[in-house]
Amino acid sequence: MQVTLKILRFDPAKDQKPTWHTYQVEAEPWDRVLDLLHKVKWDQDGTLAFRRSCGHGICGSDAMLINGRNRLACKTLVKDLGNVITVEPIRGLPVEKDLIVDMEPFFAAYRAVKPYLINDEPPPARERLQSPEERERFDHGTKCILCASCTTSCPVFWVNGTYLGPAAIVQAHRFIFDSRDRGKRERFKALGSGSGVWRCRTAYNCTEACPREIPVTQLIEEVKRAILFDRF
């Protein structure tokens, strides 16, 4: 089938602002959007810039706004989109070129929540024991691939880039609810601050955007409750 691919492009060396470019691509229904981008880059215009790596939804490189929704280009098939497809960079992060955005603000928020196990007790000779139920408690957050789909779909983040954003909160959740962790109070400083969880307006965009089906909004709510109950 013939697909019309409209890509919002921006070359910092030439352009004042992004402009739409249209390409005609021959595609199969089971092609990924990533395949179409490759067809443009490899056959029509080598200057098109986008990120990708694994090609099957587990590295998080190719989050983009596809037909108005944040998705991974490698996990979105032509058959689910029809024959006119629009592709734009994810929103709320500075565009560097075409579909490539500056990820540094995103990773700064990630680092701010101390996304690592905090436990100064000397570890046992064997593994720390954890029941299957305790392990299950934080399973959702462990699926996160840091693709930024959630954070860059969040209206609060678009308006205020200092908001930590859903992805960082998911990372915090993953440790707060890990029975082996002792660092929740340290994390609550950032999470309970003005740029933390209370900025969330429960818009559910993050949950809809997550390509890993993490119930992001629910996890944010659980972190809010954890902070509340910890305080009172």
Binding site: D11, P12, A13, W30, K41, W42, D43, D45, G46, T47, A49, F50, R52, S53, C54, G55, H56, G57, I58, C59, G60, S61, K75, L77, E96, K97, D98, I100, M103, F107, Y110, R111, K114, P115, Y116, L117, P123, R126, E127, R128, L129, Q130, S131, P132, E134, R135, F138, D139, T142, K143, I145, L146, F175, D178, R180, D181
Partner: protein, 577 residues
């Protein structure tokens, strides 16, 4: 721009991050250069588990793990490496758990373990539960956990920097040159110790489980400099790639009870490996699948694949223990593994060969194990020869933590007593020339066209089965492709995020590693592990129980030296399961 760090690691996959972390714990100033962002490395695609004789589910011993590794490697495995590995991987898994890795758990609270190909109890008698796992995203969890620890230790990251040169002068490693994707600027890095942990090169083949970015960059750079690549002829095809894309479906699916079937519905592995059937090592299963197809028992309109049947497993096992592969199958094929079998075919997966090293990750330059001071390698990019002629499933994740840790510790200690080397702008020259050539060329050849020809021809002539005739043909094709590569031109002349330039550089690396692989395969006139020569179907220990070191002379010309296999407690024997 110039930078200096005591230890610089190239690559931010599991091996690179483990190396960086342990070097930092030794007190070194550590930086990591990665062409991606750290959590986007391909370790994240590893699914099934990390093998270690924890004995949490049933009796197990590191000696059994060592034996399985040596036998799985068709006795080309260096037994000193296998011994170090089988012992230390137990501690490494426990350390990962202490770092917070969310392994699945048994009711007792201990780490859960599942069965995997080639892992047995009692010296090959029956499959054993050895693979510690976190659903079917164990690699993802290892990558995330190691990166989390690197954040905790404030390790410096140079993200989206492509290494274009390793400076080795007077036999000593002195630094690196890297191209910054965001700006197009070349950077000079001074280091006391350099660790190559840049992963594999599955993109030489058309059907592969590997990321687009796995192009053998650093192997090719060192090979061009006259350093050897070891055992490149041994390239693993994973039996269950999702047909026709090649996306990996973990061996853990068979570990949980999945069965391979041909068009007649037969469990054909019963014929090839009666004791452990579908859990035979990957080289054997891949060959069996090809043979079934060749004998007309393939599935589908082209009769060119087989089926992975999970439909007899309890739905909760599939949903809980194999959620990711279930999703891949549903999304990419519209096949629900709960209800119908999944089409699969072998997919290019893992390089057993690479940059030769000692047990501490030191890169060696010859058969006498002469070390290149300051240069280290770990993970898939390296060849410590743990995997020999065929790697067992789960041993790559074990390899990268065990030998990443060792390389990190040794590099940090080496750096303590070493000095920085003087580097000048002139060291950028070679890289600058290469990039300017690609940007200014008016040649008519296109990167995508050449790459597609390379990948198809490697698939046709140098994949699961090989013959002297086909390999010789591929030698000629590679020579021609290398000639045409000189006439590559690109559209993008810009500096910011010139990803087309990067793809052009990567194609050069793909051609180099293909050359090393094909010449090594043509040279080895026997069948062993993943290297199956139809014109030499037998293993030939009298002549070939040795490692290949391939050296580049010029394009299309390769010379060889040989290193004895380190034998030990296990005598080479016929390999049956």
């Amino acid at each position: 721009m110039a930078h200096r760090h005591e230890v610089i690691v190239v690559g931010a996959g599991g091996a690179g991050l483990a190396t960086a972390l342990y070097a930092a714990r030794e007190g070194a100033d550590v930086a990591v250069i990665t062409k991606l962002y750290p959590t986007r490395s391909h370790t994240g695609a590893a699914q099934g588990g990390i093998g270690a004789a924890l004995g949490n589910v049933e009796e197990d011993h590191w000696e059994w793990h060592m034996f399985d590794t040596v036998k799985g490697g068709d006795y080309l495995t260096d037994q000193d490496a296998a011994e170090v590995f089988a012992k230390e991987v137990i501690e490494a898994v426990l350390e990962l758990e202490h770092m917070g890795l969310p392994f699945d758990r048994l009711p007792s609270g201990k780490i859960a373990q599942r069965r995997f190909g080639g892992h047995t109890k009692d010296w090959g008698k029956a499959p054993v539960h050895r693979a510690a796992h976190a659903a079917d995203r164990t690699g993802h969890m290892i990558l995330q956990t190691l990166y989390q620890q690197c954040v905790k230790h404030n390790i410096t990251f140079y993200n989206e920097f492509h290494v274009t040169d390793v400076i080795v002068e007077d036999g000593v490693a002195k630094g690196l040159v890297a191209y910054e994707l965001a700006t197009g600027e070349l950077h000079l890095f001074q280091a006391k110790a350099i660790v190559i942990a840049s992963g594999g090169f599955g993109r030489i083949y058309k059907v592969t489980s590997n990321a687009y970015t796995l192009t053998g960059d650093l192997q090719a750079i060192l090979y061009r400099k006259g350093l050897p690549l070891e055992d490149m002829e041994f390239y693993q095809f994973h039996p269950t790639g999702l047909y026709p894309l090649g996306i990996l479906l973990t061996e853990g699916a068979r570990g949980e009870g999945g069965i391979l079937r041909n068009a007649l519905g037969e469990r054909f592995m019963e014929r090839y490996a009666p004791t452990i059937k579908d859990l035979a090592p990957r080289d054997m299963v891949s060959r069996a699948m090809y043979l079934e197809v060749r004998e007309g028992r393939g599935v589908g309109p082209k009769k060119d694949h087989v089926l992975l049947d999970l439909t007899h497993l309890p739905p909760e096992v599939i949903e809980k223990k194999l959620p990711d592969i279930t999703e891949f199958s549903r999304i990419y094929l519209g096949v629900d593994p709960l209800k119908e079998p999944v089409p699969v075919m072998p997919t290019a997966h893992y390089a057993m060969g690479g940059v030769p090293t000692t047990l501490w990750g030191q890169v060696i330059r010859d058969e006498n194990n002469t070390v290149v001071p300051g240069l280290y390698a770990a993970g898939e990019a390296a060849c410590v020869s743990l995997h020999g002629a065929n790697r067992l499933g789960t041993n790559s994740l074990g390899d990268l933590v065990v030998f990443g840790r060792r390389a990190g510790i040794h590099a940090a200690r080496f750096a303590k007593d070493a000095d920085y080397h003087e580097l000048t702008e002139e060291h950028l020259g070679e890289s600058r020339k290469r990039i300017e050539h690609l940007k200014n060329s008016t040649g008519k050849e296109k990167v995508a066209v050449l790459r597609a020809e390379l990948q198809q021809s490697m698939m046709d002539h140098a994949s699961v089965f090989r013959t002297g005739e086909l390999l010789a043909k591929q030698v000629e094709i590679l020579k021609e492709l290398m000639d045409r590569y000189r006439n590559i031109s690109i559209d993008d002349k810009g500096d910011a995020y010139n990803t087309e330039l990067v793809e052009a550089l990567e194609l050069g690396y793909l051609l180099e590693v293909s050359e090393a692989l094909v010449h090594s395969a043509l040279n080895r006139t026997e069948s062993r592990g993943a290297h199956a020569r139809e014109d030499y179907p037998e293993r030939d220990d009298a002549n070939w129980l040795k490692h290949t070191l391939a050296y580049k002379v010029e394009d299309g010309k390769v010379t060889f030296r040989y290193k004895p296999v380190v034998l030990g407690r296990f005598e080479p024997k016929a390999r049956t399961y």
